[in-house]
């Protein structure tokens, strides 16, 4: 099909579309849903006591940093699927993640025995909460992001994983008691990092331009 025929076909088959909400508004909508979901998760898991018993600033500051990271990362993810928007929000998300990890390091006791951190097997529950508990959040976010343009699939997926991972991490921290910031840093930070890496590597599987059928110049995926 030549280009002129393609243009005629696209115009002839045009259907109205509703412009997407601005990234900030979409991120706010997802974050609201995520907040409700994490709250329910915490309430459901903390019937036998929570991780916030007697918690002070050393506990709450990392949680606030994680929430901020999740919000900024989700906004950056939504911005990354809109062509022509500035890319600074990605740097803000990365900076927020570093601050969150930094607060966990600061919250670690000075005499922590780092050798015991990797063998803190009870943290596998947190891993489960972050990965499995975060899955519905990730699914919702992916579905929302797929309405945008798959400009940078790896970046979009990584930002989405960062947003989900940090917010799910808050759920795990609030519902389960933790020994200290060092363990949270190593286990929660490690899981979130792993999620980000896996998402970045597999991002192009989720976010891709519809495949083009060379025979009829139509789309064959996503029903677009």
């Amino acid at each position: 099909m030549n280009t002129n025929d393609l243009i005629d076909n696209l115009a002839a088959g045009l259907e109205p579309v509703a412009p997407l909400w601005p990234p900030g508004k979409r991120a706010a909508a997802w974050s609201l849903g995520a907040a409700l979901y994490v709250s329910l998760l915490v309430i459901g898991m903390s019937s036998g006591g929570t991780g916030t018993d007697g918690a002070g600033a050393m506990f709450w500051v990392p949680q606030i940093a994680a929430i901020v990271t999740g919000l900024v990362a989700s906004a950056a993810a939504f911005a990354s699927v809109v062509p022509g928007l500035p890319k600074q929000s990605r740097a803000w998300a990365a900076a927020a993640a570093l601050v969150w990890l930094g607060t966990l390091v600061v919250a670690s006791p000075g005499d922590v025995d780092w050798a015991t951190v990797p063998v803190a097997s009870h943290e596998w529950i947190c891993v489960g909460v972050i990965v499995v508990g975060g899955a519905p959040l990730m699914l919702a976010l992916m579905l929302m992001l797929r309405h945008g343009a798959p400009l940078s699939p790896a970046t979009t997926a990584a930002l989405a994983a960062l947003a989900v991972g940090t917010l799910a991490n808050v759920g795990a921290c609030l519902s389960l008691p933790h020994a200290n910031g060092a363990i949270t840093f190593a286990w929660h930070g490690g899981v979130v990092l792993a999620l980000v890496v896996v998402a970045a590597v597999s991002g192009s599987l989720v976010f891709a331009w519809p495949a083009r059928s060379r025979s009829n110049d139509g789309f064959t995926r996503n029903g677009r």
Binding site: I7, L20, P22, P83, G84
Partner: protein, 190 residues
């Protein structure tokens, strides 16, 4: 294309109408932006042939169509379109590199038979001096490609390392050089 007050920004109005289902506005929009898209692609992919350029143009048009909901009428149209063009160009380059990696380059083998009339004219020994002159007359990049791939018989990967160019660029240069040599030597035979 990206200046805030450039004519392309008025296309934002057409896109807004297109988002509401106005086919005539959309047709006008696509017809207006297509030459500009083609121009950008030609500038970025100077070595691409006409078919490859048109393929990329069509990729961009289909992408614009797919993600037209992401255009915010409150924002300028130019940066939105240009971002799509740039990303599709990068995707196109990756696709090209992927295909080049999988391709096995095979020269056409000419079969030589004992009967002279069974052989085509390519397998005949031509005028070595004329060939030498024709190779010398080639542009630098094409001459280097011929020397590395055809005379020194390096693989595409080795030739790319030696010349400091990509495999794709070498293939294009070789293809053009061979066409030029055929033209030159053909004229001389006539």
């Amino acid at each position: 294309m990206t200046e805030p007050n450039s004519p392309i920004d008025s296309l934002g109005e057409l896109m807004r109408a297109a988002q509401q289902g106005d086919g005539a506005s959309y047709l006008e929009l696509l017809r207006t932006i297509t030459p500009r898209i083609r121009q950008v692609i030609r500038r970025q992919r100077g070595f691409a042939g006409i078919a490859e350029v048109e393929d990329l143009v069509q990729d961009v048009l289909l992408s614009v169509h797919t993600v037209r909901a992401t255009y915010d009428p409150a924002r300028p149209f130019g940066p939105w379109l240009l971002a799509i063009v740039r990303h599709r160009l990068v995707d196109g380059a990756r696709r090209y590199a992927r295909i080049a990696r999988r391709e096995i380059h095979a020269d056409e083998e000419d079969v030589t038979f004992s009967e002279p009339e069974a052989n085509d004219d390519i397998s005949e020994l031509g005028d070595a001096a004329a060939l030498h002159e024709a190779v010398r007359a080639l542009p630098e990049g094409q001459r280097q490609a011929i020397e590395l791939l055809k005379l020194r018989e390096l693989s595409l990967k080795e030739a790319a390392q030696v010349s400091g160019t990509s495999v794709g660029a070498l293939k294009v240069a070789t293809h053009r050089a061979m066409a030029a040599l055929r033209r030159t030597l053909g004229k001389e035979r006539e």
